[in-house]
């Protein structure tokens, strides 16, 4: 079946099986490799994308579900001032270690700041609950957000 949606600002049309998940469509058909494969059951956050501006897990969405909607990944945020600031702050605080979780964190933090939902570090702590990081212990990530808010 054909599914059309907006990916990183551009309209795309893909031919998919009804049981195809967005994670596979992005990685295997559209070459979007910043979206990672982890638990595949909504528990780790490495497959996070922005769906109409809010974070969602691409491993728990049928590609057919995003028909007519807007999907954004970090590839689409290249050159975006806020996204670049977030990335730089994460790097400066040593919050990127193996880096596997980083694209997901950038998207969640980006959406939180963009929507005005992150006003302090406590807000950030709440909103990043669905992104796991096995390396940093989260403190460096929160430090990076704190620096952004300062």
């Amino acid at each position: 079946m054909k599914v059309s949606f907006k990916l990183n600002g551009r309209p795309v049309e893909v031919d998919v099986e009804p049981n195809e998940i967005l994670l596979d469509t992005l990685r295997l058909k559209l070459g979007v490799t910043s979206v990672k494969r982890g638990c595949e059951r909504g528990e780790c956050g490495v497959c996070t994308v922005l769906l109409d501006g809010e974070p969602a897990y691409s491993c728990l969405l049928l590609t057919a579900q995003v028909e007519g909607r807007e999907v954004v990944t970090v590839e689409g945020l290249r050159g975006d001032e806020l996204a670049e600031k977030i990335a730089r702050s994460l790097v400066e605080q040593g919050a990127v270690q193996c880096g596997f979780c980083t694209p997901g964190f950038i998207l969640t933090i980006y959406a939180g700041l963009k929507k005005g939902l992150i006003k302090n570090v406590e807000d950030a702590k709440k909103l990043i609950e669905g992104n796991l990081c096995r390396c940093t212990g989260y403190l460096k990530i929160l430090k990076a957000v704190e620096k952004l808010l300062a």
Binding site: E20, E54, A56, A64, G112
Partner: protein, 290 residues
């Protein structure tokens, strides 16, 4: 790919009418709202329907209406919309609190309240608040509409009163000044956030001729989320003194029948039910004294 979804046909409904018509025609289908329960269940092979009927796009069922003595919530309202709703925060604070502690932003921005109840998990976190509020489930099929009390609607693990071709369209939630102010919520999980309930508990007080009537509900302690009727009966006409709270929190054992599963043992759940109820009643007693 570790998990493989089974194959199925996929239909997207453009209106409630179309969804019900399709459901009647297909027979062997599952509704997909946000899919956060359903896709996991399909991945682990719990269900193998011939068709998936996507109702996620039905905007007409996404609303929160402050309607005098009650709040009406459309079945396809996303958890994130419930969390951000000032109507829910003010009139149904127990529901607000429960949703605040549910899943993660990524899940809440996709998952719906209809899916949480439709899935009929014993651990459904919107259930204890909705049970305390005596919520009514409105359903629709080509045969017409029905209104069923939530307490009867959920029958057991993943079993509801839904008939083939019938879908949940709305939750009608009675609100009251008592429950707006005198409530306490507890959720105990294996970690402090992004976790399923080991035991969840909602308690509230309403007022009948000036004296409080307590309502108590728990999840993850029985085949379905339950009202603690023995506790409620015992608390009738009583003041929440330390010894009344002590006794009430023991009586809750008569209202529950927990099992041991991957998250906790039955014994531990029994222990938690008593401890959490005691704690919640103390919080309400404090507010009542002010």
């Amino acid at each position: 790919m570790f998990y493989k979804l089974p194959s199925f046909e996929y239909f997207k409904a453009r209106s409630v009418g179309e969804a019900l018509e399709l459901a009647g025609k297909i027979g062997d289908y599952r509704f997909l709202a946000g899919g956060t329960d359903l896709l996991v269940d399909l991945k682990i092979g719990r269900y193998k329907p011939r068709a998936i009927l996507d109702i996620g796009g039905l905007r007409e069922l996404s609303y929160i209406i402050n309607d005098g003595s009650r709040v009406r919530i459309g079945a396809l309202t996303r958890l994130e919309d419930i969390l951000r709703s000032s109507v829910v925060r003010e009139r149904l604070p127990l529901l607000h609190e429960a949703v605040y502690h549910m899943a993660s932003w990524q899940i809440r921005s996709v998952a719906t309240i209809g899916g949480n109840i439709g899935n009929a998990s014993p651990a459904a976190d919107t259930a204890p608040p909705l049970l305390v509020h005596d919520a009514i489930v409105k359903t629709r099929s080509v045969r017409g509409e029905r209104a069923v009390r939530l307490e009867e609607f959920i029958q057991g693990p993943r079993r509801t009163l839904l008939e083939p071709g019938e879908m949940i369209v709305e939750f009608e939630v009675p609100a009251s000044p008592g429950l707006e102010e005198y409530w306490a919520y507890r959720k105990f999980g294996r970690r402090s956030a992004f976790t399923l309930s080991v035991v969840g508990l909602a308690v509230g007080a309403e007022f009948l001729e000036g004296s409080p009537v307590f309502k108590v509900s728990l999840n993850s302690v029985a085949p379905k989320p339950v009202r603690a009727r023995s506790v409620e009966e015992y608390l009738k006409g009583k003041t929440l003194t330390d010894s009344v709270i002590e006794t009430a929190s023991k009586i809750v054992q008569q209202d529950i029948s927990p099992i041991t599963d991957v998250r906790a043992t039955a014994e531990y759940r029994r222990h938690l039910a008593t401890v959490l109820l005691k704690d919640a009643l103390k919080e309400i007693a404090g507010r009542l004294r002010r």
